[in-house]
């Protein structure tokens, strides 16, 4: 029997999470009403990429619980390839709580020992990664568990050995930054392994000092990174390659919720990469896509299609 393996342009590796968002703006400990959304940075990424018209696949593990099944449905409906999602009968799908009040976001996670925490090297299908054009993962993917961290490095190795572009977003969360292992992994990945790096201005400063982002990007480019995209929230973004730097100013949209905007930004950058777009176009496109995501509550609700992004860009 000939097994036909799914082939996708982009493979992502990480953990999906059911997110419970406080609805009344109180701190988490006082909040009593929560809206459940589907989250997890890499899950948001693969769904966004599909919405922007590219094929994406997800290497992950979920529980055979209500959330795991819902995610499978969600990804199938979105056109994300789930051939490499393992449904773990014994495991559970992680969840997190989030409240935003006073302009800040509070997160608390329940993901220890989740199905995704059992991700390991053996989950990395060499052929699946080799046949893709881009591998995307994040600092959170590495932080899930020690075995997941190994899986990330294994996947990166396969990608690098087979000319698959490695796209990496450190996605630093305060909770895991205390770990020296993680800090080292993040730095190593950015400085030595990644081809495309997407990060926020705050992350850039945290990692490389309080220096202008253009300088940080230049340093990374010198070290071998092909594209650096610096996310600056309402101030727009900066995209730097060997050919130069492009700055896109912030886009005016009604901001309901910024969570997940960064993941859409990353997806948009990767989409532009696949399409061979210039840094200029990439900066404006990714910027607009991320801004539009902020219109709705939760990371998936307002993820734009390509047409919607282009419409916004034309209107500008």
């Amino acid at each position: 029997m000939i097994e036909v393996m799914a082939m996708v342009e982009v493979v992502a590796l990480g953990e999906p999470l059911a997110g419970f968002y406080g609805t009344s703006g109180r701190p988490i400990a006082e909040e009593t009403s929560f809206q459940r959304i589907w989250g997890g940075d890499t899950s948001n990424f693969v769904v966004a990429l599909a919405k922007l018209g590219h094929t994406s696949g997800y290497i992950t593990r979920v529980g055979s619980d209500a959330w795991g099944r819902s995610f499978m449905d969600l990804w199938s409906r979105a056109g994300v390839d789930t051939s490499h999602v393992v449904v773990d009968a014994e495991g559970y799908t992680g969840l997190y709580f989030s409240c935003s009040h006073d302009q800040s976001h509070e997160f608390t996670y329940h993901r220890k020992g989740s199905a995704a925490s059992h991700l390991s090297q053996s989950d990395i299908d060499t052929q699946y990664v080799t046949r893709a054009k881009v591998l995307h993962l994040t600092g959170i993917s590495q932080a899930i568990s020690p075995s997941a961290m190994e899986a990330c490095f294994a996947a990166i190795e396969v990608a690098r050995d087979n000319s698959v572009t490695v796209s990496y977003d450190p996605n630093i969360r305060p909770g895991f930054w205390a770990s020296s292992t993680l800090r080292a992994a993040v730095r190593h990945t950015i400085l030595r392994l990644a081809d495309v790096v997407e990060l926020t201005l705050d992350e850039a400063h945290l990692l490389f000092g309080d220096v202008e982002p253009v300088k940080i990007a230049a340093r990374l480019i010198d070290g071998g990174v092909t594209l650096v995209a610096v996310k600056m929230g309402p101030d727009g973004c900066l995209v730097v390659t060997r050919d130069g730097a492009s700055r896109a100013p912030g886009v005016q949209v009604h901001v309901e919720d910024t969570v997940g905007a960064g993941d859409v930004f990353d997806a948009a950058v990767v989409a532009c990469l696949l399409e061979g777009r210039s840094p200029d176009v990439t900066a404006r496109f990714a910027n607009a896509a991320a801004a539009m995501t902020c219109r709705g509550r939760g990371p998936l609700v307002s993820q734009p299609t390509r047409e919607e992004v282009e419409h916004l860009l034309r209107a500008e």
């Binding site: 419970f20 609805t23 701190p27 988490i28 400990a29 006082e30 909040e31 009593t32 009403s33 929560f34 809206q35 459940r36 619980d65 209500a66 959330w67 099944r69 819902s70 449905d73 559970y92 969840l95 709580f97 509070e106 608390t108 329940h110 220890k112 020992g113």
Partner: protein, 325 residues
């Protein structure tokens, strides 16, 4: 001066805002619940000094849980904040697939409470308590929790306090009847008051006539002054050591969420026993408390005061329609 002490896990409960399968539910209400904690809160509502021994995570949910229990008057000074493990969380799916029944999905494995052990108990602190209460959930959480619960039972026994035990079988934690028996038998041996339910009896002793099951149970509870069997909407029966069994038919109410009813029942029954009420009255008020508890979401919120119980009973059994307002 402590009246009642208990040991167990209290968790954050995310209760579906509407009935239906969880995957289709968007909105959830956060409540705080845990069998022993519920019963303590019920007793606190009825005027008793109740203290809870437990652990919660060093997280926002842990804080939420403590704040909530405090607001019900439960002493949480002996709840330790554990830096290494999270506070347990669980989800409630209501009315699906069986209308009127709730299903729970636990996120509690490896929780702070599961790491409790005998050293979490301070014998001096609980020495004045007149009653110690534990349910079959706690020994099922982990070996260390089992040991902690046993220690509590021992200390209570040595102090001459009453030890009350509710079998409270959770099949998600105790997968087989053998495991359930191993979990509950040591506690049944110590218990002065035993609570159980028809579902628990079937699981422990196989489907059989209630009277036969009660006989088997009696033999396992040599110290028990009374066995109480809860039959859900059909009320409850009490089997005193000396004396005739008695029953109360319960109350018919619309069911919003049946979780917590058993714990509310236990609280009211124990409250009556501590006040020296006759068993018939204890059964009636216990049934009333259980009935009130199913009419609202959340385990703690509907816990009644004495006045609530009196009004409820008068309304349902008073004969004439009295004015409510």
């Amino acid at each position: 001066m402590l009246d009642v002490v208990s040991l167990g896990e209290v968790m954050v409960q995310l209760n579906a805002a509407e009935p239906g399968p969880l995957r289709a539910v968007r909105m959830f209400e956060r409540h705080v619940a845990g069998s022993e904690a519920d019963t303590l809160a019920g007793l606190a509502r009825l005027g008793f000094n109740a203290s809870f021994i437990s652990r919660v995570g060093d997280d926002e949910m842990g804080m939420a849980v403590l704040m909530e229990l405090n607001s019900y008057g439960v002493d949480t000074s002996r709840v330790t904040v554990d830096r290494e493990a999270p506070t347990g969380v669980y989800l409630v799916q209501r009315g699906y697939p069986v209308p009127g029944k709730s299903k729970v999905y636990y996120y509690r494995s490896g929780s702070a409470a599961s790491r409790m052990g005998p050293d979490d108990i301070e014998p001096e602190w609980i020495s004045s308590a007149r009653l110690a209460h534990v349910t079959g959930i706690t020994p099922a959480l982990s070996q260390s929790c089992r040991e902690a619960a046993l220690r509590l039972a021992e200390i209570a026994h040595n102090n001459g306090a009453l030890f009350s035990f509710d079998t409270n079988i959770r099949i998600q934690l105790l997968k087989t009847p053998e495991a359930a028996r191993r979990a509950v038998d040591p506690f049944l041996a110590f218990a002065d008051i035993v609570f159980t339910g028809t579902g628990d009896l079937d699981f422990l002793f196989g489907n059989d006539e209630l009277e036969h099951q009660v006989e088997i149970l009696r033999k396992l509870c040599p110290a028990a002054r009374v066995l109480v069997v809860k039959c859900g909407s059909h009320g409850a029966s009490a089997y005193p050591k000396d004396g005739v069994p008695s029953s109360d038919p319960g109350f018919s109410v619309p069911v919003v969420d049946e979780l917590g009813a058993g714990d509310a029942f236990d609280a009211a029954f124990l409250a009556c026993i501590l006040k020296g009420s006759p068993i018939d009255e204890a059964l009636m008020y216990a049934n009333a408390a259980g009935a009130i508890a199913v009419t609202a979401r959340g385990d703690l919120e509907p816990l009644p005061t004495w006045n609530d119980l009196h009004v409820f009973v008068a309304r349902h059994r008073g004969g004439r329609e009295s004015l409510m307002r």
